[in-house]
Each structure stands twice: as structure tokens, then as C-alpha cells.
Symmetry: C2
Subunit: 435 residues, 2 copies
């Protein structure tokens, strides 16, 4: 007699949409290729994590009975009011304004598990299957997976060295309107500062234009702009810019997403959103269903770090450290990639990434000769650029790569870029000789 | 000239389903009635939070460079393997087995933001709108909101003092099959230990029966059982029972959800699930989209607390403390409720709740004379039982209340129950006199 096993399970439609994130494949590759220098990992620099600050603040909180009880108890779904007050003040500082000048109160802030959770919840609350999100080309690939997960369509908008092009955005909106699809457009998503993967920031003069376009094309319903400012604190050159959100004077169009995963510690997973008034209740209700509140204890740690001034000091040190690493990658690119004569790249003014463009025929995907050669022979890993482009697989650009200077130290950066140059050189030579 | 504001936003279908959680209304009531003794709050006892343990373990982690870097860095979506190893060993201890005897490895475990996130993700992965979940009557009201949020239908199954009745479960399945609806049934949800709100545990002999029924009625597709064991460590009398999950020898039918929010600290928000093999990837993919991993730092704290034996010692102390509070509530119920002659209740062997039943005509809802009198005159708050019943509003039972002994100390418990008795007495007298 054989035991009969239970019949197959039947998933929801949602499950069918949810694709495995490419990040999983990348991590698997990292495990299988341990000798590789990884320029792929999106992790932050392990040597500049705020170990001492977290230790001191955790100690202080846990030595204070009232603070300890609040940190270790359940909180409210959007985060405690004192924590949100602190975040609002920090935001004001980042915008170069007083809290009063910001034009919103703590009731518009929601604390989330990293900014990732905010992006996901906004997608849940806005998109029905087939609805449209306009995204930069290229854009943050994890968010493309989030859009897939709710059955939304991501439509790419051309970018240049100043970020998403307003003329291209308008053209796309016009085309969609002409096709009778404007009513499916719910959101414009953009990473305003040092975009992952391109390293490009949206230029100052384009910021109000994007808001104006979203408002102008909001005919039957509102089109929101989701501004992902994850890298805003990681600026190494030039002056900080006011957010896209700050140009939305009614604060009903732009959703601002920020996180402390890059500027402090991803192990705390604290992010927050600033929301239009009528999105606050939907986002909190949804978060209530998902987890009824992110962990309090890390929020308390972060709040105390900010209030005590330790956070600002940490960000200063962090910027100095990443600036050196950015410089190391730029120097390595000049030394190893430029002599090849076929690699284009731009010096990023912030963030964690260098984005390189190869000749069109030199594909970079997981199955490409370059990725295989780089990971198996030369020993270096990168993120294939094609993951970062929305739209038809057939038309997706396949000749870019994202190189991160987050994890590697300066010599690792130099070595990684050297190895990548070697792999490119080899594949170029093979292509030329037909080998 | 007036400025034109942007047109109204258009939400997703999901948003339309998501109702405000009753918990929000309750918290608002608590704010508005600050002099009330709250027997409503589902918080844990603030005086037994593991402040010292968290302080020591956080210190140890942050003093150890490798441990600190791992705790403050990004982790993997399902939680780090060492953390999951620790949880697997703890689960084995709870089941009274060796890890080998458990029959699953760490690859079946996923760490979530409390067990709430696991419940939510399982619902996302299984339910299409209109699909059915069978739940106990009464059941955990937050999960009813989660089901609403994905458009699923919750159908109540009768319970008695031994938990969900297998005969009633089978009858419900038969009825659904006769109505051609069996193919919509995806899940049986139950709180196996000291159910919130009833305080009842599923009897030992019923545990394999529920698994057998789910398997037997899995005709065209698998029907899962979601076992919510949130209160499993909070047993004050009698011997612990192996989980429902342990009776699913193939481990393909029962999903086990556990949390450290009750037994350790809700401010860390660490829970975990043990999943059938073919649900692992869907749940991790979905979690990847939602937040790509819960905060690492609280997981590291919890792991060290478990590994060092501090967690077990804490649970022992906690049990002793809650046992005294349970006894205080039982004594108060005997002293104040029993003399009224109309209130039925059972002594809970664990958990945080006393569930009381009033005469059918004595309604307990937010709008009822009893709730109004209790909160505004006598100064006591409870959770109306009707929140905990699924099904038609018209047929929902409205004469129960959940009283928590989690937050109040022994004198608060005594005072709260005394006040509630006073409110009941007043409303009974008004009803009799027609006043």
C-alpha cells in the first residue's frame, strides 16, 4: 500500500504574478562563486556600520525604565508619535526648512520596515492588475518585482544624465492618452537622488516639472509621484537639493519614501513615508493587516541616535568613507575600463553605484559570455543592467552593468574593476576573432 | 483665482476591501477614556518585559565585531540560517522531540515581523477574492480583518470547551461540497493554544482529526490548516500538547505560525512560520516584495537570548507572573460576576484572556448600553465579542466580551472586573425596569 500524498495546492492569482526576485539568483551566485570579488551586492559597507552608536543608545534606552517598556512593548501601526516627530524634524533639516515650513504634520508620516515596505504598500493600495506605473529607464529593479507582484505594468521613460526626461515623460503620457490608457496610469516612480542603478539624480529644474506633469495629466483621477529618496544622505559632491516632494506645495501628489538602511543600518530596517492626506488611512490600514507595526525597538534606537546628534555625526563619517570608495572606483574605471575604448560611464556624485554601458552587442546578462567569463574565470560579479529595465523582454537593453562600491574596500574595488576589464577584454577579443 | 486641487485618487480594489481594524477604534476609545481600567488592550504585561536580557544580549552582540556587523547589515529574506537553526531547536523542545524527529529542516522556516506577517502572507498566497477560510467561532479578530483585506470569505465553525468541533468542521465542509463550493475552500484557521479570545485550546484527540479532515476534503486541491500557536508558551496549568502541525506527518498540510511577541517582547516583532515545502518559495518571494526581510538586529537579540538559556528562564518567570494574574481574574470573576447569576465563563489554562458570555439580549458592542455604561460611567473597557465572530452581521453573536489580564496588575484586574460587574448589574436592572 502506498500513502497518497495530498493533492497539489492551488495558489492565488497573486502568487502567479509574484516572480522570484533576481536578487535571490544573485545571492545564490555569490554563494557558488566565493572567490569572486562582488561588485554586485547591494549591501552597505560593513566597516562603517554604527556599532558603537547602537550599543550606546540601546544601553541608554534599556537603562531607562519608561523608555525600555515603550521600546519592548507593542506600538501603534504607523510608529509612535515621538519617533515620527523626530523624523519630521530630520526631514525639515534635509529640506533646509523649519518644521512649520514643511507644510505637513506627523499625521502624514508612517514608519515602515525599510522603505521597501512603503513602496510595496503604496503599490497594493493603488494598482489593480493591468494598471500602469511609469518608471525611469533604468530603475531600481526590486521595485519592478513589486509591480509584477500586484499585476501592474511598468512602462519605461527615457532618462539622461539629469534623470528622467520631462519631455519623454510627457510624450509617454500623451501616447497613453491617445491609446485610451491614461486612466490606467496611477503612478510615476523615480529615485530622485543617485538612482540605483544609474547613479544619476533628478536635476533641480526637472523636479517641479515632474510634479506639474503628474498634476496636468491627472484627468479623471490623481496620478501620484512616488519619490524614492533612499540615497539622499549619501551625497559626496555638490549641494543637497530639496526633494521632488517639496515642490508639491499641496502635498497631495508626491509620496516621499526614505530609509535609514543606507545612512545608518539596514539591520534596523527603519524607513518612513510622507503621504498625501487621503493615502494615510489606506496605508496604515494595509500595514495593520500586514504586520500591525514594525519593530519598536530599532525605531527607539534610531530616534535616540538622531536626537543625540550621533546620527548626523555618523552620516558625516559615512559620507567621507564612501566618498573615498567612490573615488577609488572612479580611479579604477579610468585605469582599467577607459583603455578598452568601449566602456561608457559617469562619475556618480553620491549613492553606491557606478553604471557602465558597453557596446550594444556586448550583452551582460546572467547567461551572457561576459557574465560567465567574469564570474567563473576572472572572478568578479556585477548586476546585469537588463534587470533594471522595464518593458518588453525583447526590447530591453542588455549591455549595461551596475557596479557597487558599497561593500568592497578600496583595494577590492580596484581589483574588482581590474577583473571586470579583463573579462570584457577577453569577450571583445573572442567576438572579434569569432572564437 | 482659485487653485485647482488635484482630482480624487482612485484606489485599488484591495483598498476597497481593507476595512479599518476595530483595534484602531479601541485604541481611540482608550485615549478618550483615560480613567478607564482597560481589560481590552491586547498588550503584554509591561512589568515583565525582558529589559535586562535585551540589554545584556544587545551589549554582547555589539561588543563582538562579527556579530555586530551581521546584526546591523542586511540579512536574507527568510532570516539568517543560524537564527532559523536556533528556532528549529526551540520548536523541537516545545514539541518534546529531537530536531531529527521534527521531520523538517531550517529550509522550512521563515522569520517574519511577528506572526501577523506570516498570517498575512499566507492569506495573500492562497486566497483569491471569494475563496473561503474556515475559522473557529469565536476567533482572533485581527485575522478576520486580514481575510477581508484579500477579499476572502470567513465561515465560522462551532466550538466548545475543547476548541473547534471536528463534527462541525466536517458538517461545514459537507455543506460547502453540497453547495458546489468546496473548491473555494483554501484554509482552516485555528488558534490551537488558549485561543484569543476564548482561552480554549484544541483538545489533544481533536488535533489529528482536524488534519485528517483537511486532507480528506482536499479533493481537487490541497486544503491547508493554519495553526496559530501564538500563546503556546503561556500555559499555567497542565502539560503542554504537541502542536496540530506535529500530527501532519507529511508536513504538507499544516502551516505553523509562532511568535515571540507574547513570550518575550512585542517590541522586537519576531515571529516565524514552518511551511509545507511548496509554500516556502511563494512565501519568501512575497516577503521579498513586502520588505525583503524583517529587521536583523532584533532577531540577533532573540537568538542570543535563546542560546544562552535566558529566554527559557524568562518564560518560566513570565508564566509564574501571568498565572498569578490569571488567578486574580478568576477570583474577581467568582467574586463579582458569579453573584449576578447570568454571566458564564471558563477558567483559562493559559493565554491572556477570560471570555465571558452574557444572556443573549445583553449586547456588548461599541454602541450597546453595556459598553457605553462600562466605558463612560463605571470606567472599564473590554473587547466586544462580536468582533470575533465571522459570518453575516445579522447572525453574529453579540453577547460576549473578552477580558484581558495581560496589562493590568492584580488590583487593576480586581477593580476592572468589579466595575464591569457594576455596569452589567446596572444594564440588567434598566432592562428589567424598562428604564
Amino acid at each position: 500500500m502506498t500513502t497518497t500524498s495530498a493533492p497539489a495546492l492551488r495558489f492565488s492569482q497573486r502568487r502567479e504574478w509574484a516572480s522570484e526576485q533576481a536578487i535571490g539568483f544573485l545571492m545564490q551566485q555569490a554563494v557558488e562563486n566565493r572567490d569572486c570579488v562582488s561588485l554586485a551586492a547591494g549591501l552597505v559597507d560593513p566597516t562603517t556600520l554604527p556599532t558603537e552608536i547602537v550599543r550606546e543608545t540601546a544601553d541608554e534606552i534599556l537603562a531607562d525604565e519608561a523608555a525600555a517598556r515603550s521600546a519592548l512593548q507593542y506600538g501603534t501601526t504607523p510608529g509612535s508619535e515621538p519617533v515620527r516627530e523626530t523624523l519630521l524634524h530630520l526631514l525639515a533639516t534635509q529640506e533646509g526648512k523649519s518644521v512649520e515650513e514643511l507644510g505637513v504634520g506627523v499625521d502624514r508620516l508612517v514608519v515602515t520596515t525599510g522603505s521597501a515596505q512603503l513602496l510595496s504598500i503604496v503599490a497594493e493600495m493603488l494598482f489593480d492588475p493591468g494598471d500602469v506605473c511609469l518608471v525611469a529607464a533604468p530603475t531600481y529593479f526590486v521595485f519592478l518585482g513589486t509591480l509584477d507582484g500586484v499585476g501592474a505594468r511598468a512602462i519605461p521613460v527615457e532618462t539622461d544624465e539629469y534623470g528622467m526626461r520631462p519631455d519623454a515623460l510627457e510624450q509617454t503620457l500623451q501616447d497613453l492618452e491617445a491609446a485610451g490608457e491614461l486612466e490606467r496610469v496611477k503612478l510615476v516612480y523615480l529615485v530622485s537622488e543617485f538612482e540605483n542603478p544609474s547613479g544619476v539624480s533628478l536635476a533641480a529644474e526637472r523636479r517641479p516639472q515632474v510634479v506639474e506633469l503628474a498634476r496636468r495629466y491627472s484627468r479623471s483621477h490623481r496620478i501620484h509621484v512616488l519619490e524614492d529618496a533612499a540615497y539622499r544622505e549619501l551625497r559626496y559632491d555638490g549641494e543637497p537639493l530639496p526633494s521632488v516632494w517639496s515642490h508639491d506645495t499641496d502635498h497631495d501628489t508626491v509620496i516621499l519614501a526614505q530609509t535609514f538602511s543606507k545612512s545608518f543600518s539596514p539591520g534596523l530596517r527603519v524607513g518612513f513615508g510622507v503621504l498625501p492626506d487621503d493615502l494615510v488611512a489606506p496605508v496604515i490600514d494595509r500595514k495593520g493587516n500586514e504586520d500591525f507595526g514594525s519593530a519598536n525597538f530599532p525605531q527607539a534606537v534610531l530616534q535616540r541616535a538622531i536626537e543625540s546628534g550621533r546620527y548626523a555625526a555618523h552620516v558625516d563619517r559615512l559620507r567621507a568613507s564612501y566618498r573615498r570608495k567612490r573615488d577609488a572606483m572612479v580611479a579604477a574605471a579610468e585605469r582599467h575600463l577607459d583603455p578598452l575604448g568601449v566602456v561608457r560611464w559617469r562619475r556618480p556624485e553620491g549613492g553606491l553605484y557606478l553604471w557602465i554601458e558597453l557596446p550594444t552587442h556586448l550583452q551582460t546578462g546572467f547567461e551572457s559570455p561576459l557574465f560567465q567569463r567574469a564570474s567563473r574565470v576572472d572572478g568578479v560579479m556585477y548586476v546585469p543592467g537588463e534587470l533594471c529595465f522595464a518593458g518588453d523582454a525583447a526590447t530591453r537593453r542588455r549591455h549595461h552593468a551596475r557596479l557597487s562600491f558599497g561593500v568592497q574596500d578600496e583595494s577590492g574595488i580596484e581589483e574588482g574593476v581590474r577583473r571586470l576589464a579583463s573579462a570584457i577584454e577577453h569577450v571583445l577579443a573572442s567576438a572579434t576573432t569569432g572564437a
